[in-house]
């Protein structure tokens, strides 16, 4: 009987059985922005285990990864449970020769490129499943890329709340101001996922994102 009502409410997009605060939180962005590094940082901080493998070579994450039941608690005692979804980086071009330059063999490079294209498609398809998204941008790079604009535009069109994480602020070239200038209407928090810099502010922003 409970299952019947669950299905009914799901069809009606209203579910009184769902736990309050339990949402799918997606990590989106271009390749090598640090999505998987941030996913690992969040999981290490709250579950004491890692989630994804990371690499300097682009498109290391080529399939959607989900870690369920991440439980956050802030200093005020507020609690939040969510499923973290680490997505492959979204790109408009994938050239297997770029992987050859990184020392891969031809067959391996071609296979990686093929998996990467599928990963991009999956990331876009999964947009509809997200209830909130953290867009992870490399703060050392130009934020005015069409991929960034397309990702954020599509989230806005779907009325999905967005937080922008300007990652890699530990690097000298990092420029959060350029990201703020490019996306003035969004909350932006500068972090270093690799070194755990400014994560307290980041977690507070996550609480604000998922009200």
């Amino acid at each position: 009987m409970k299952q019947f009502f669950k299905n009914l409410f799901k069809k009606l997009k209203f579910n009184p059985f769902s736990k309050r605060g339990h949402v799918k939180l997606g990590l989106y962005g271009p390749p090598n922005g640090g999505k998987s590094t941030l996913a690992n940082r969040i999981c290490l901080d709250w579950l004491d285990e890692e989630m994804s493998s990371v690499s300097h070579i682009a498109h290391e994450t080529r399939e959607i990864k989900i870690k369920e039941q991440i439980h956050l608690k802030n200093a005020k005692g507020k609690e939040l449970t969510f499923s973290l979804v680490d997505t492959p980086g979204i790109a408009t071009k994938i050239d297997y020769e770029d992987f050859l330059k990184r020392g891969m063999k031809k067959a391996e490079a071609k296979a990686r490129a093929k998996e990467a294209t599928k990963g991009v498609i999956d990331s876009i398809k999964w947009l509809d499943n997200m209830e909130a998204v953290i867009v992870v941008l490399d703060a050392t790079k130009d934020p005015y890329s069409q991929v960034n604009i397309t990702i954020i535009g599509n989230l806005q069109a779907r009325s999905i709340p967005v937080l922008i994480a300007a990652n890699k602020v530990d690097l000298k070239k990092a420029n959060i101001d350029s990201i703020k200038a490019a996306f003035p209407q969004y909350d932006i928090v500068g972090i270093s996922a690799k070194y755990g810099k400014n994560l307290e502010e980041f977690y507070e922003e996550v609480f604000n994102l998922i009200k």
Binding site: T92, K118, T150
Partner: protein, 133 residues
């Protein structure tokens, strides 16, 4: 040699989203750079990336995409009203979209009111000039 193909808004105005995206992609796959009047809808931009990924092969390595659009925050109230009125009558023709094949276009830099397009030929030429010095 680099070829640009201009696509006026009226050519895509009445097409469905799928047909719009396919029309643009077919031109790009002929190694031409599309200069389109107006811009795609947000969902169509995502569809363009998705279909591009499906089409990637050793010969077609993807696209470079950029859009310039008037910054509405910098517009006066009158300009906004005029823009909305024009959109109602003629469709959203504001802005310009550039789509190039990745094997011809190295990168497109948007900054944010101008677009700089770097082709693979010109970057090779640049490197050669630099070496001569």
């Amino acid at each position: 040699m680099v070829t640009f193909q201009f696509i006026p808004f009226h050519q895509i105005e009445n097409l469905s989203s799928a047909k719009r995206v396919n029309k643009l992609l077919n031109v790009v796959k002929q190694d031409k750079i599309v200069v389109m009047e107006g811009r795609l809808r947000k969902q169509e931009e995502a569809d363009l990336i998705e279909i591009t990924m499906e089409e990637i092969s050793p010969k077609f390595k993807g696209i470079e995409l950029s859009t310039v659009y008037p910054d509405k925050n910098k517009q006066t109230a009158m300009q906004k009203v005029k823009g909305r009125f024009a959109t109602m009558l003629l469709g959203d023709r504001q802005g310009l979209t550039i789509i190039g094949p990745a094997n011809v276009v190295k990168k497109i830099e948007q900054n944010p009111d101008k677009i700089e397009l770097f082709t693979k030929e010109s970057s090779t030429r640049y490197r050669k000039t630099k070496r001569r010095k």
